[in-house]
């Protein structure tokens, strides 16, 4: 691996001298150390130890794969007026072992909102979008829907009433679910029971 020309040119003379000295000292010290180790040890035991260390790294990778065993991840998109229902739905989804992503949790002060949301949607499995009269014209919601379509994510529209006209054009061919405000808790539970049976979500 060689140094890129730009890196050397950007270095100050003092930094360059420090690097050269460090490399020289490192090489001299290492070679001197190597000469101190008994020859018969180098061939066998050290080799075994280095193989063992490599296996340790491989084992760590395997274990971490198991640790990151995939939960279905869901992005919740909703207008501000539906924040209560969204919070209840999010809590219920988490209790049913789904990973829930909401805009507030992934966007920190100073972040580019559209960029962070786009990144989040790229990584999730399913977009659940809560819709009411006003949300059809919401820029954020429409952008989130478009991003999910572009990344071929499953989209589940959730309406507050049985009215297909609430669906934006981009998803008006999708089957929607309804959460009624009168039986909110029961509707949420029924909705989650339905999505758990869907193969691509489970």
């Amino acid at each position: 691996m060689s140094l890129h020309r730009t890196t050397i040119q950007e270095m100050k003379l003092t930094e360059l001298v420090q690097i050269v000295l460090s490399v020289a000292v490192f090489l001299i010290a290492s070679l001197s150390l190597l000469s101190q180790v008994e020859y018969e040890i180098i061939n066998q035991k050290i080799f075994v130890s280095m193989v063992a260390a490599t296996l340790g790294i491989a084992a760590a990778l395997l274990v971490s794969q198991v640790m990151s065993r995939k939960k279905t991840s869901i992005f919740l998109s909703y207008p501000n007026e539906m924040e209560d229902i969204a919070t209840k739905l999010g809590t219920e989804l988490k209790e049913n072992n789904f990973e829930v992503v909401v805009g507030d949790t992934i966007i920190n002060p100073g972040d580019n909102i559209k960029k962070e949301v786009k990144k989040a949607i790229e990584d999730i499995d399913t977009l659940i979008v809560l819709l009411n009269e006003k949300s059809k014209k919401s820029d954020y919601i429409n952008t989130e829907i478009k991003t999910a379509i572009k990344n071929k994510k499953r989209i589940i529209p959730l309406l507050t009433e049985n009215n297909k006209k609430l669906l934006p054009k981009s998803i008006n061919s999708l089957r929607f679910e309804v959460i009624s405000e009168e039986t909110e808790e029961e509707s949420i539970k029924n909705f989650i029971a339905k999505i758990k049976t869907v193969d691509s979500i489970e």
């Binding site: 930094e15 010290a29 150390l33 260390a53 760590a60 990151s68 990584d123």
Partner: protein
Amino acid sequence: MIDVDWFELVASDELKSFGVPFLTTFLMIIVKMVSRDNSRERGFIKKYMKRGNFNFGLQLTVTSFSIYLIGSLVRIRSLVLSGAAPKSMFNDITNTFTTIGLLILVIISLSFIVRFLGWESKNRESQPTLFYEVILPNLIGIYSLSAVINTLN
């Protein structure tokens, strides 16, 4: 059925040569992965395959140095207690402290190299630093640990 004499195995050189490096690298990586906040990332690669989780080389070299230092002091003590001949004891002590000094030089020079060609070079928007930041220090760290645990009795 596997018949293993665990009592003898625990005291064996083979367990020391294999078990210590295996456990050390395994636990170092797992502890780093688990202790970082990766709740914002999704997927195994984005969550866990970060350079920070794998650059343990410097720590390993420093640990090897500590093991060698303490192990050497214990060995010198046992030589003194056993009444070994002064000349061989003197040679042993001299070799030990020479090795310790060389190890210190290796660690300091390696940390300079990692700093300039690894971490700081990122600020110059230059080439990949994976080799200087992760691979080289890890190779040296693993070799240091392997040499030290097999050299000390």
